[in-house]
Amino acid sequence: MSRALYKVENLIHHYNRQPVVNIEDLTIKPASITGLAGPNGSGKSTLLKLMAFIMRPSKGRILINGHPAFPFDETVRSQVTLLTQEPYLMRRTVFNNIAYGLKVRGDRKDWIEPVHEALTMVGLDPDRFSNRYWNELSGGEAQRVALAARLVLKPRVLLLDEPTASVDAASSELIRTASLSARSEWGTTLVIASHDREWLYDVCDEVIHLFEGKVVGTGRSNMIFGPWVSGPGDRHYKDLGDGKRLPVSMPPHTEATAFIDPGAIQLLARDEAQARSGRVLVNGTVTRLSLEKERGQLLADVRVGTHSLAVRVDESHLAAMTLHRGWPVTLAYRLDSIQWR
């Protein structure tokens, strides 16, 4: 069993006495790609800043290679680097922005070759971009330069906070490719926070779900937010759009969040779906089939109204039913399989 690179122990962080991160235990393996998923305010950015040792946690500790680490420690400087969501560059040329990390590390004076390599990695022509100033770049170019400034350090850990949130599609693809190549070329450990769950599920060895600062699960998960509408009897619903409703058990409050494990939902052909006591049926359409990396199982994304639910598909089921994109199916689940936060 490989030793953990990162180990988080009883980590708590407050902003104005409000807890924003509360994680008892979290482990990240070396040379892995870990995803952080969760809604806005779930603590992803704060967790990344703590893991980047930008700030000290209010309580608890973070260990690297088994040893506690703190901001400005020699063990983490230039080894752990964070790329933030909004591109930010210093008021100097592209070349000097990228070379800054090499300078503070005391690296050799010849920075031209590593800087040019880093620019090429992010898809920017060194001859055209080296002498441009920070304010002569588009948003996508600025974010790529910011990434190049981290890649030039060949960091041990690269933390990415929504790296493609504020850039165009072309830059987004280049940023993703360059980030992943750091792992393949240097064994860099990546931790990526993103709202693009499909990308996370595709590239990450593990996806960790955060909600209100806590880890609520790993792997694929269905998270459905309130508000909830009450119906006849004890029934409550979530309006999923296009006339579709998702029945749920009684929520603890109107803004509660429901979690349904993909393994708790059964995928049925439309014609074989039958109502049973305690079981709810919802119709949808298959939009995507993928392999869940962590478990090696097939996952189907099923569109219900304007929402998408992930369903783990049993191999025996796969043999028994036709399943492809655009195929109408029925989802079946028990109301007591819903977990509430």
């Binding site: 930008i54 400087r77 680097t81 964070l82 933030t84 909004e86 930010y88 210093m90 503070v104 400034a149």
Partner: protein
């Protein structure tokens, strides 16, 4: 109107003819102001950086004190410096009264709040992402502070130029502490006041032209820095 025009024409003669009294006043001004600016930048820039960068319990009160000091009248500063460096004052033994060094001390006190306040403002307006960026790229604590100061260099330079403009054009300190002694402590501003009082408009205008040229140059630099 004729005498004003005649004054301008004579001013050109005095300046380009190398009139000794005129250029003595210019030299005295440059000496005193350069000394005071060097001192106020040396003390004021680090103080302003610390005030703007760090959070500490009495920060707000200190900032209030600095901002209040911005409004100190020059005659009041001149009066206080005079009281300290006169023979009966605590610093009387240093013979600073009626010297350019004495004027420089007073002008340092005038310039210091300007440099501190505007440097602190420049640092406070620093993007909050800069700290994250610098630490992410491996900066040590010292490198973080130095790089942050470098990033706000244009704001700090603008603070220095603003203070310089204030120092160049003040009369109260130069008059009270310097004594307006010909060939020694007569500065541009005290000379203008004296010559105008004597009806010697040409000399006053000549010195005023020098002041305007310097003030214009300062503002051109400030304008350039604002765009950066």
């Amino acid at each position: 109107m004729d005498f004003i025009l005649a004054g301008f024409i004579q001013a050109i003669h005095l300046l380009f003819g190398g009139d000794a009294q005129t250029w003595s006043a210019v030299a005295a001004t440059l000496k005193a102001s350069s000394g005071s600016m060097a001192a106020s930048l040396l003390i004021g820039v680090p103080a302003g950086f610390l005030l703007g960068y760090f959070d500490f319990p009495t920060k707000r009160q200190l900032r209030l004190l600095v901002d209040t000091a911005l409004a100190l009248p020059t005659v009041f500063i001149g009066l206080m410096v005079y009281a300290f460096i006169t023979n009966r004052g605590p610093l009387g033994q240093f013979d600073l009264l009626f010297t350019l060094r004495g004027i420089a001390i007073g002008q340092t006190i005038l310039a210091l709040p300007v440099v501190i306040a505007l440097s602190a403002t420049a640092v406070e307006s620093m993007d909050r992402h800069l700290r994250t960026l610098l630490i992410s790229l491996g900066a040590s604590r010292t490198q973080l502070l130095m790089s942050s100061l470098w990033e706000v260099r244009y704001g700090v330079l603008a603070a220095g130029l603003t203070a310089y403009g204030r120092v160049m054009t003040e009369v109260g300190i130069s008059m009270m502490v310097g004594g307006n002694i010909k060939w020694h402590t007569r500065t541009i501003t005290t000379a203008i006041a004296l010559e105008t009082g004597k009806g010697m408009f040409a000399t006053g205008i000549a010195l005023g032209v020098v002041l305007i040229v310097i003030a214009f140059s300062v503002n051109v630099c400030l304008s350039f820095l604002r765009r950066r």
